[in-house]
């Protein structure tokens, strides 16, 4: 499209309910930063938002290559939204490779903004284009905007003492400025960010400011875009909000848990994608008494965490699937010695190294059963980035009250995705304080609380409570080493009963929609948004469809079977090949149907909606 074809009088503002933008470019193009800046700006404005960063495992794959493409999709809305959007309304492609890998998701008529300067013969070849898509007519069905971003940006930065390469690195802010204009968003939050980030480097700061402002001015003064858009702020529940990713909310939740329990955190971790950010963040909270420990390996990370819990601290460790595999033996030790511990698994695509930066929820059976012996561990799983805060506290509530290791299951989509979070009032947070045992007259290492079956927490330094624990089977009550067959059976049963009993202490499974009907869509973890949106659409179409989402995977809420049996069909969408499905079928002999998708991407709403409609339809036809 060229400027001549646009009648000037069309210039105006159009109000939209929701917009989904995807920024895509080379991993060196700063697409994650661009997306994050737009997200913050939309969040501060008061939109509801949901984001999906999508980046390669390679830090810098060859420039211009297909594997090097990094993307960031965000959806912002004046209504409550649950997902980052099935498909973008706008695709910003900074080079041919980004166009090639992302164009398939853009619907016909969608806006396509490209950096014309990057469509050189060399880049086209790298991306595998035989001819230039900008000129060969293949993009006709899209609303194409060709903008020489690199050239315009370089012109705006003229006179600054910078290398060409440095100048080129700021072109993402030109694109960002343009998008700010297009969607009527203030540049202020980003300008403030630049000041904070580059305050010490005035030239770089000036360059980024100029890039941003010239992108904005370009939108304002040229007539390429005949309309720009406004997405009013959302009707969110009253309160103070901030934008959080799942990993941020997780770290904040743990600090809160430490305050609530009045015990210091010890966080042992070995770097692994996508869990490392929790370590990075917690290591900055030393004034909260947080002790972080970058261990020599995954095993040392959990070993040290167990040692810290043994000493009375809140021992924690985090990893992703491959690291959880390494920690398994120590997780079994924690089950045996019945010490509080939280093990965080930020799931990614497996098996083995798999696709380290891509999301999946296929470690459910691993954390439930991936240990020798019957080795029961409670498992909690937040459903949204903001919910990560609540379930970090919930994991610790269970661990402390029941003296047990607990698994906290997140995933790459939750960990890196973000949404507005209504900051809770500290006074409203639950009290999870637990006392150490100090009375020597009543002390038995494996005597149990009659209600919770928890054993006492008798930490070193407590006079008269000297005792020995370990991985060998324990005699009931005394905790001495025991090979007695009857005792082993009793202890196995007690450990299982203790974890099963937590069901009495967790909320009932809630249902969104009719309390009985044709179809229940059951989910867990990060599929929440897509399932909820699909259920909303189906309900709007008049179907008797409900959505229930499990946050406790072990034990299940006590009413789960009643809920499942209230619907003719049960559909379980999972980003794995049917793990919760297997549990539900095995436990309740219910003929639930799975919908699996393991492509390293979250579900789209439409995928769930289609499958639900298919099931509803099957019911009607005999």
């Amino acid at each position: 499209m060229t400027t001549e074809t646009v009648p000037q009088q069309d210039q105006g503002v159009q109000e939209l309910e929701r917009v989904t933008i995807r920024f895509a470019g080379d991993s060196g193009d700063g697409m994650q930063l661009t997306g994050t800046q737009f997200t913050r700006t939309a969040a501060v404005f008061g939109n509801d938002i949901s984001t999906l960063p999508d980046f390669p495992a390679e830090i810098r794959a060859p420039a211009g290559s297909l594997p090097g493409v990094s993307g960031f999709q965000l959806s912002f809305s004046s209504n409550e939204i649950h997902t980052p959007g099935d498909e973008p309304d706008v695709l910003v492609a900074m080079n041919p490779a980004a166009l090639k890998t992302n164009l398939g998701d853009l619907p016909p008529g969608g806006a396509l903004i490209v950096n014309q300067d990057a469509f050189t013969q060399q880049n086209l070849t790298k991306a595998g284009y035989a001819s230039n898509p900008l000129t060969d007519g293949s993009l006709k069905k899209y609303n194409l905007f060709e903008i020489p971003v690199s050239t315009l940006n370089a012109r705006a930065l003229e006179g600054l003492e910078m290398t060409n390469k440095q100048v080129d690195l700021t072109k993402n802010f030109f694109a960002l400025g343009l998008m700010f204009w297009l969607y009527e968003r203030s540049m202020e939050p980003t300008l403030r960010w630049i000041e904070e980030k580059f305050g010490q480097k005035p030239v770089i700061a000036e360059a980024n400011i100029r890039a941003l402002k010239s992108g904005y001015a370009f939108g304002e003064t040229t007539e390429i875009f005949h309309t720009h858009y406004r997405v009013p702020s959302a009707h969110l529940a009253p309160g103070v909000y901030r934008n959080v990713t799942g990993n941020e909310a997780t770290a904040l939740g743990f600090v809160a848990a430490s305050k609530l329990a009045r015990r210091p955190i010890f966080y042992g971790s070995y770097p692994i994608t996508p869990a490392s950010d929790i370590l990075h963040q917690l290591s900055g909270y030393k004034e909260f008494g947080v002790r972080t420990f970058q261990a020599e390996d995954e095993i040392a990370a959990i070993g040290a965490a167990i040692g810290a819990s043994y000493g009375g601290a809140m021992g924690m460790t985090a990893s992703s699937g491959p690291g959880i595999a390494l920690k398994s033996e120590a997780m079994g030790l924690a089950v045996m010695v019945e010490l509080p511990l939280v093990v965080i698994d930020v799931q990614r695509a497996g098996p083995s190294t798999g696709m380290p930066t891509k999301t999946e929820q296929a470690d459910l059976l691993q954390v439930l059963f991936g240990r020798n012996g019957d080795s029961p561990m409670p498992v909690v799983a937040p459903a949204t980035p903001a919910e990560c805060f609540d379930y970090a506290i919930e994991a610790w509530r269970i661990a402390l009250k029941y003296m047990t290791p607990v698994v906290y299951l997140s995933d790459a989509f939750l960990a890196t995705g973000s949404e507005p979070w209504r900051i809770p009032d500290v006074a409203d947070l639950p009290n999870i304080e637990v006392d150490n045992h100090t009375d020597r007259a009543t002390f038995q290492p494996y005597a149990r609380d009659p209600e919770t079956l928890a054993r006492p927490w008798a930490v070193p330094g407590t006079a008269g409570l000297e005792h020995r624990i370990g991985g060998l089977e324990k005699a009931d009550i005394t905790g001495n080493v025991s090979y007695d067959p009857e005792n082993h059976h009793r202890m196995q049963t007690l450990r299982a009963q203790k974890v099963a009993g937590i069901a009495r202490d967790i909320p009932h499974l809630q249902v969104f929609g009719p309390s009985a009907g044709d179809l229940l869509i059951l989910g867990w973890g990060s599929t929440y948004g897509a399932i909820r949106s699909a259920a909303e659409r189906l309900q709007a179409q008049g179907h008797a469809v409900a959505h229930a989402h499990l946050r406790h995977l072990n034990p299940f809420p006590v009413n789960i079977e009643d809920v499942l049996r209230s619907y003719r069909r049960v559909l379980i969408p999972e980003v794995n090949l049917g793990q919760l499905l297997m549990l539900i079928r095995a436990r309740f002999l219910i003929d639930a149907v799975g919908l699996d998708k393991v492509r390293g991407k979250p579900f789209r709403i439409a995928e769930i909606e289609e499958e639900a409609l298919r099931l509803l339809d099957t019911r009607r036809t005999p």
Binding site: R40, A43, V44, G46, P189, A234, H235, L236, P238, V240, Y241, R242, N243, L252, V255, R263, P264, F266, Y285, K286, E287, F288, G289, R291, F293, A295, E296, I299, A300, I302, G303, A304, A305, I306, G307, A308, Y310, G311, G312, A313, G315, L333, V337, I423, V426, N436, P460, G461, A463, G464, L465, E466, H467, R468, I469, G470, G471, L472, N480, V481
Partner: protein, 364 residues
């Protein structure tokens, strides 16, 4: 638990510290005896095992440190040595194979006030747990690691270990092991341990003295105890540890003293170029020509040389090879927390939750 703080009344290592109590608060506790450290559990090692002696000497020295029983923790891995904590009337944790140093690291980080011992064996420490020995030593975690070296896997009934001599025939190596053994003390030194020592199960007085020195060191301690497994590797060290030969075949290290050995104290260790050499005193060689032991040398060369010496080429050195001071892991960790507290005061949760960019939604 209140936030644990680093005990400040701790003494450094070295002879001067020997008779001083480790902590003033703990010195006030009733004087304990060996019997106070004997647990009610029946000891279940094979009769004649060297572990009995190590246990007895450990229980014997325990009262000397001035720690109350409840402030002492024994952490072990898997193997025959791993059972020791059950027999100590202190806090004890029998963990999993090779990982005892990791639990000790976490415990010590959370609770610097405790005295933490790690009990391990040659397989536990150098095979499955090698990585953790390396890193706990280089971090200078304030743990007293005692490695029972019997050059065999005992609990699994007699397979070659990482310290088994090359060619050793065992159940798992019927044609002889083809793996070169490691020298445990060389590894400890390479891993930057701040205290490195060796003793022998049957040399009870020396063992007691070396355990005592180990307990008084602040920082990462690696003590190798040559221990006889009379079932699967009987007499592994007899060639130089037996009463009749030990003086001629072992070198008793003493800080600041020349390296002299032999029943008649007529042999010594001299440096020839970069190599140690056994020399006969007299006939032109005097004490002044001999190497003088310096356990506190900043550079580890002398200690490393000693760690490589082994009978029959050399007398086997026992005693403290190296003892230097470096800030411990828990001290440095606490230091960073203290710095953060001094800089910004105690963390305020309300403020933390509201950090970053926030906005208010007030429409219903």
């Amino acid at each position: 638990m209140t936030d644990a703080t680093i005990p400040t009344a701790r003494n450094g290592d070295g002879p001067a510290a020997k008779d001083a109590p480790l902590s003033e608060a703990n010195a006030a506790v009733i004087k304990l005896t060996r019997k106070d450290f004997v647990s009610d559990q029946e000891v279940r090692w094979c009769p004649g095992c060297g572990d009995y002696s190590i246990l007895a000497q450990t229980q014997k020295v325990m009262p000397d440190f001035g720690y109350a029983r409840e402030d002492i923790v024994f952490i072990s891995g898997i193997g025959c040595s791993g059972r020791l904590p059950y027999y100590m009337n202190t806090f004890g944790f029998h963990t999993i194979h090779g990982r005892a140093p990791t639990l000790a690291t976490g415990l010590k980080a959370a609770r610097p006030d405790l005295m933490v011992w790690v009990i391990t064996g040659d397989g536990d420490a150098l095979s499955i747990g090698g990585n953790h020995v390396l890193h706990s030593m280089r971090r200078n975690v304030d743990i007293k690691l005692v490695m029972f070296n019997n050059r065999i896997y005992g609990l699994t009934k007699g397979q070659a270990s990482p310290t088994s001599e090359i060619g050793k025939k065992t159940k798992s190596t019927p044609a002889g092991t083809i793996d070169t053994p490691v020298m445990p003390l060389s590894i400890a030194l390479a891993a930057e341990a701040t205290f490195v020592a060796r003793s022998v199960d049957t040399h009870t007085e020396h063992l007691q003295e070396t355990l005592e020195r180990s307990g008084r060191h602040t920082g990462s301690c690696f003590l190798e105890v040559l221990q006889n497994c009379n079932i699967f590797n009987d007499g592994a060290f007899r060639g130089f540890t037996d009463r009749e030969v030990r003086e001629d075949r072992m070198l008793l290290l003493k800080h600041g003293e020349p390296m002299i050995f032999g029943k008649d104290r007529d042999k010594g260790i001299q440096l020839n170029g970069l190599h140690p050499e056994v020399v006969q005193l007299g006939g032109g060689v005097s004490e002044a020509d001999l190497l003088v032991h310096d356990e506190r040398a900043e550079d580890p060369y002398l200690a490393y040389m000693l760690s490589r010496m082994w009978w029959p080429d050399f007398p086997v050195p026992v005693g403290v090879l190296r003892s230097v001071d470096r800030p411990t892991h828990d001290q440095l960790l606490q230091g960073q927390i203290d710095d953060a507290l001094a800089r910004s005061g105690p963390g305020d949760l309300e403020k933390l939750l509201h950090s970053g960019e926030t906005w208010i939604a007030d429409r219903a």
